[in-house]
Symmetry: C2
Subunit: 463 residues, 2 copies
């Protein structure tokens, strides 16, 4: 946990920003895997972690905007339970660490909320992303499940998005330490292991091993695949073959559950082929161009569009496209090769605050989401400001099904040289991703550098 | 998956055993971890796996008891989705493998059920263990959440418990192969790694690595602890010290999600101390006595009680107890040292079918659950019969808090030598667990032997 003062200050900001009422912040419960007693590893709610810091199930936080006080509702571990679980902090200890003055048994929460409702006080809560939370809120507030969703507090969402988007030095430090101590080792291991004959499952097991041995978990289910062009790929069934590329998109959580999220691509052979190196360098150029441009005041939408233009310029010199670069990108012709966005906010969630709605975290009155295929998947388009942490993750993919579809529909046929693309049908995909903080004058990649240039990677692959 | 015939036969049994109506078997969905898009690894519902075998989210199975037909409801992956996920089996392929004649889009299920309700057909369903399932059933059947729980089908529970309790040769083979290829390697690795200075987290990471590299997951969150006396211990924060015991309770799932579940205890030093060896041998004696007794017709309750008597006899010769063994066990005095049950059913769930209620899986009119502390935690008390798979997991623990409590309450003070127990307060706990199938004349430990005797373990610990 951070210092008590940090949690007090974070809650103070909420109290100052909201006009009145109560903020209801339930923590997460355990989720059954195949029966109630066999749960998934517990993951605390990120908002609860942010405002209260306590990494345990069974707790609900309440912030009274009018009185300025915060409360915790939860049940003490009984002596009978202590016998089974051993040492366990008391509610008093937890409240103290979190700077909360009062704590109550869980059963009193229902009454507390009923009274608040009688007094017509506003109860601010966030839209629930888990079904058990939805049911719980429906019971507490006497709403139907549909009403629960409807009455989530837009005011609270807006204040939290503003607050959590900007990371302080402690938060940045948490992310950087994890990259340096855990995530970079995961990637160096994957690089060393990417040899012909090894299974994807063996590599993913090895990288998860590293995080787990440090007492950390993965921020998300890792991608570790020779089919990097399938963007949502959670299978690890392939055996690596000479000539393929291995794409690894993974990241350890810090012990306090801040995410890290990197992507690297390694040749299974000792070196990249010429074709691979050309595409790899182009992806790296896209990232470098983006990083050079990122600073407060610039929209991330324009950075995304700029990276797409670098892509189109590159594909033109490789003979895969022709035409006016600005126009091609405007119309989305590049999305055949780069159908996703340049990056997303990162923090306590790998897609930070995605539960509050991407429209709320990534767009505003100034920058609205594109409707063009590819560009519309950009998760964050707003102006950059100091303290934001974003991933920068351009990619180039040759997705046979998508190419087939576009070719059949003759999409951009005068600009895309489909006959040239034939040579890339077994290529796979390349993505390069780093975690970046916006500084007062530009941006900075978080953590020590993880090998990224062709020369660095090939050097490390040498026997 | 098993052969199509197996799933057809399993469903045929249900159809024959139920008088009429429809069996509604929803598969599981993905569960959000910290937002909808960041899910836990998918785990299919075990009943759905048993009757349909398909390991994917988004499906519901329906078995029409009256017509004898089975249906699958689910949605095909769209071309747009295929672009992201790559290869994906179609509903037609999945239905074929499962021996299901007809499949329909998911949106038709609501209508199908509404029609069945109008026709006053019985809709048999199981009590939901996940909140999303509860909400879904509540919507489909127009029940409140409380009514959903109330109207779960006792008839269906009873038939499924009978059917799933008895494992066939293919199921046994699945469990044995996993023990031989994965779980035993996990334990040999833990044994080799249990040296002073290493962290529990490093050992648990290594054993999870082994399962994952085989493409398997853990059946449950592993216990890997020098505090083996805390029975529900999911922390891995300790560093192993000379003189301690490391308790590892873990098991890989098979690829088809059959559980394995073993426990071993290793000395952190090269050898057990005399005190450790005495207690270890006594736990092993308890297990051996249980295994010798297990055969069709004997209740597992009586096996449990017998193991407890072996324990008391042993503790008497160690000078920790005295009195009449039968009476001590009857009254539960042994439970200070062995406060849990001897074992549980195992199959597609590590506690097989625990979602259907332990009363339904483990007890019947003949054998009812004890009310005595310790004995009442026995999860399975019924008569043994051929084909049951059970864990046999006696243990001896010195739980300081429990000892303190009993001593203060002067519980069994004439029979328990509390002053002698002082010498064991830092002992920890020992449990030895194997997975066992009941044969026609006795029982058999599943899988190749995993080192268990003091001599075997000390030999493997030699440099």
């Amino acid at each position: 946990m951070f210092s008590k003062e940090k949690y007090l200050n974070r809650r103070k900001y909420l109290i100052e920003q909201l006009p009145s009422g109560i903020v209801l912040l339930p923590g997460n419960e355990r989720v059954p895997m195949n029966y109630a007693g066999n749960a998934y590893p517990f993951r605390q709610d990120s908002h609860f972690l942010y405002y209260f810091g306590i990494d345990m199930p069974g707790l609900t936080g309440v912030i009274d905007v009018d009185s300025g006080e915060s409360y915790l509702f939860g049940d003490e571990v009984t002596l009978d339970e202590l016998i089974w679980v051993g040492e366990y902090p008391s509610l008093a200890e937890m409240s103290e660490k979190s700077g909360v003055s009062k704590f109550f048994p869980k059963m009193r929460l229902e009454n507390y909320l009923a009274t608040a409702l009688q007094l017509k006080r506003t109860i601010h809560y966030l839209p629930p992303y888990r079904a058990d939370r939805l049911l719980q809120l429906s019971q507490w507030l006497s709403f139907t499940p549909a009403e629960v969703k409807e009455h989530a507090s837009d005011e609270l969402i807006s204040v939290i998005v503003n607050q959590r988007s900007v990371k302080d030095a402690d938060e940045l430090n948490e992310i950087e330490l994890t990259i340096n101590q855990v995530t970079s080792e995961m990637f160096l291991t994957a690089l060393r292991m990417s040899e012909p004959g090894i299974k994807e499952s063996e590599i993913v097991a090895a990288i998860e091993h590293i995080a787990k041995a440090h007492g950390c978990r993965q921020s998300f289910i890792p991608i570790c695949s020779v089919n990097g062009h399938y963007l949502h790929n959670e299978s690890y069934a392939n055996i690596l073959r000479e000539g393929q590329l291995l794409l690894v998109d993974a990241g350890s959580e810090s012990k306090m559950h801040y995410a890290t999220d990197l992507t690297r691509v390694f040749p299974v052979a000792k070196t990249f082929t010429t074709q691979q190196a050309e595409i790899y360098q182009l992806v790296l150029d896209m990232q470098m161009a983006a990083l050079q441009m990122m600073k407060p005041g610039i929209t991330y939408f324009s950075v995304h569009m700029h990276a797409c233009k670098v892509l189109v310029e590159g594909l033109k010199s490789l003979g895969l496209m022709n035409g006016d670069t600005d126009e091609l990108v405007e119309q989305g012709a590049h999305a055949l090769f780069f159908p996703h966005g340049l990056g997303h906010l990162m923090g306590l969630d790998v897609h930070d605050m995605e539960d509050l709605g991407e429209q709320n975290t990534g767009y505003d009155d100034e920058v609205s989401r594109s409707t063009v295929f590819g560009t519309r998947y950009l998760r964050y388009g707003k102006k950059l400001k100091e303290g934001l942490v974003l991933t920068v993750e351009p990619g180039i993919y040759f997705i046979p099904l998508l190419i087939q579809q576009w070719k059949k529909e003759e999409k951009f046929k005068q600009y895309i040289h489909y006959e040239q693309i034939e040579r890339y049908l077994n290529f796979g995909g390349i993505r390069i991703e780093d975690d970046v903080v916006i500084t007062n004058s530009g941006c900075r990649i978080l953590g020590n550098p993880v090998p990224k240039t062709i020369a660095e990677i090939e050097l490390l692959k040498m026997p």
